[in-house]
């Protein structure tokens, strides 16, 4: 801003485009990419969601009638949508407490002067960076009827086995995703812990606070932004499951018990040829997810 003041009498080109017009050329490719593969499909998703959109042969002129809110009304009464929404809630209920508790515990442990910290950090992060398809394959054989976990549990194993048991299928997906992503959150919590000024702990000690009191009064508020991140990302992750229900529970089974919003969109939009309806599900989900992040930002600013 300050640099603009002495520019009063400069060439008009500079006035129009700024001090470094070449910046437009450099940032241009990104802007074009964004318009073609982000903004346009975004608008297209909204457009489609108000139409009875269907696939036709390329180049064919077909009428895709405007249907108003029909897709959205259908969505409200759709049992599969209800089940998918419930599954997001099941995921959040299992994932958030486990992630917050284990993430904080492991980060606290990692934040002490102990040998092998690099080894621990790498091993925690490994599931997070590995391909879902590869690690889902392992869980498939750990939890199927004759798998290692069922073998270890013996008569305690659920019947029907975990992955084809409607009470267990979604919780197993939730445990899988919690396991896969925990390492990422450990690092987030570790960074948050290291940002808490040491003086806060010293001040608390002077005031006579014990370890537990210090944990609740200094550590927990100090890592709050990290905890908020866990909650917001849990909503997004829960809505986005695809590989897990597709491979681990045989396509969201049994009987749709582990279906996810994105798997539902795939089925409706691509397998069954109702892209307009699938787009309506997508738009609704995106509004909910973005609403939650805005609400959260608002709450954080309030403090």
């Amino acid at each position: 801003m300050a640099a603009l003041a002495p520019d009063a009498g400069v060439k008009p080109r500079r006035r129009l485009l700024g001090k470094h017009p070449i910046g437009l050329l450099f940032a241009g490719p990104y802007l074009i990419y964004w318009l073609l593969l982000f903004a346009y499909p975004l608008g297209f998703a909204v457009y489609m969601s108000f139409r009875d959109y269907f696939f036709a042969a390329p180049g064919a002129q077909v009428d895709r009638p405007f249907v108003g809110l029909e897709n959205y009304i259908r969505l409200i009464g759709d049992d599969d949508v209800h089940r998918a929404a419930l599954n997001v809630v099941i995921f959040i209920v299992i994932n958030v407490p486990l992630t917050v508790a284990l993430g904080l515990i492991l980060a606290t442990a990692l934040n002490t002067a102990i040998p092998g910290r690099t080894f621990f950090r790498v091993s925690f992060y490994l599931p997070y960076v590995s391909a879902s398809v590869a690690v889902v394959a392992v869980w498939l054989y750990l939890f199927n009827g004759s798998g290692l976990v069922s073998n270890l549990l013996g008569s305690l194993a659920p019947d029907p086995p975990f992955l084809i048991n409607s009470a267990w299928a979604m919780p197993i997906i939730a445990l899988f995703a919690t396991w896969k992503q925990l390492g990422f959150y450990v690092l987030v919590y570790l960074a948050a812990l290291q940002n808490i000024p040491g003086e806060l702990y010293e001040a608390a000690s002077v005031d006579g606070a014990g370890t537990i009191r210090k944990f609740w009064s200094v550590t927990v508020p100090g890592v709050r932004p990290a905890t908020t991140l866990v909650v917001i990302l849990a909503t997004i992750v829960g809505a986005n499951f695809f590989t897990e229900p597709y491979l681990l529970t045989g396509g969201g089974g049994p009987n749709g018990a582990s279906i996810s919003p994105v798997l539902l969109m795939y089925r409706q939009g691509i397998e069954q040829g109702n892209p307009g309806y699938a787009a309506a599900i997508g738009v609704t989900l995106a509004i909910i997810v973005m609403g939650l992040s805005l609400l959260n930002r608002f709450l954080l600013d309030e403090e």
Binding site: P21, P41, F44, P171, M290
Partner: protein, 303 residues
């Protein structure tokens, strides 16, 4: 391994490590021991599925009991790799994964670096707008774009079973642009200005100064970006129906859901495929583990 072990963990770790201030020495040691124990339990939970994957990939006949988790020299073989290679052509699918990932990396590095540099170091009209566009790209979930992108790329442009069709939606990640922008913001403007005063063109400033300086940021961006397309399942799954064009993740998922039963030891063959899929990322991550966590991207620019 399983839910019972995971849930059992908080009890051990929530244990406060020493309350008496007079025994600082002893409590410090207790704290370290508890931390070490917690971290070891964590490392076992995180690493066991990987260990099980490799052991399973090398077993002649599968053994889903606990004994099967320990390698028996008499039962070891490389046949599983041959078996899966006979069904999904590992070399071909690895090459497909490589081209898909390489294309994304190339586009992200060129377009992302240019945009990040311009946003951080140049003054031009529309800069604020482009930055806001970038932020929007970070918060809108991909699921909203999935259906319209499918219609555009597969139906309109006929890019099914092409590398371009796989690459396009991932071509420039806003995260990478962000990494470059953050990196270039830490470099004093004077450095570039002095080159300009010496008569260097904007293009030369970019290629002679900005790009060589950005090497650490490029490495970070490459590592972060690499994981995305290499591990991605949903989008290439939607785009490829031709086995010869499938990336390994898609081909392996296809093998799991449809043709695994056609080999003698499906368990071993799937684990062999999973090992091949997971290995490149694991190796990269272990080698460059410091780059994934260093919050101070600019540590190398002081000199």
């Amino acid at each position: 391994m399983g839910s019972s072990t995971i849930e059992g963990q908080p009890g051990t770790a929530a244990e406060p490590a020493g309350d008496q201030p007079r025994e600082v020495e002893r409590s410090g040691r207790t704290r370290r021991l508890v931390s070490l124990a917690v971290l070891l339990v964590g490392a076992i939970l995180f690493l066991f599925p990987f260990y099980y994957m490799v052991v399973g990939a090398l077993q002649q006949t599968p053994d889903p009991t606990l004994a099967g988790a320990f390698p028996n020299p008499a039962n070891l073989t490389l046949d599983n790799f041959t078996a899966i290679n006979g069904r999904i052509n590992l070399l071909r699918t690895l090459l497909n994964s490589g081209i898909f990932t390489g294309g994304v990396l190339l586009a992200t590095m060129v377009i992302g670096l240019l945009a990040g540099y311009a946003l951080a170091q140049l003054e031009f009209r529309g800069k604020g707008l482009i930055f806001n566009v970038l932020l929007l790209g970070l918060i809108v979930p991909f699921m909203l774009l999935m259906i319209p992108l499918y219609v555009m790329i597969v139906r309109w442009y006929g890019l099914a079973d092409t590398y371009l069709g796989m690459i396009l939606p991932f071509a420039v990640s806003p995260t990478a642009v962000f990494i470059f922008r953050q990196f270039f913001r830490q470099i004093p403007k004077d450095l570039f200005d002095s080159a300009r005063i010496d008569g260097a063109s904007e293009f030369n400033v970019l290629t002679r100064i900005a790009v060589p300086l950005a090497k650490p940021a490029i490495l970070t961006a490459v590592l972060v970006t690499f994981i995305g397309p290499w591990n991605e399942f949903l989008w290439p799954f939607l785009v490829t129906k031709d086995v010869a064009k499938m990336p390994l993740a898609v081909a392996l998922a296809n093998f799991i859901t449809t043709i695994a039963s056609s080999v003698a030891n499906p368990f071993g063959a799937i684990f062999a495929g999973a090992t091949v899929l997971a290995l490149p990322v694991v190796v990269l991550f272990v080698i460059f583990q410091k780059r994934f966590t260093s919050s101070d991207l600019g540590s190398g620019i002081k000199g």
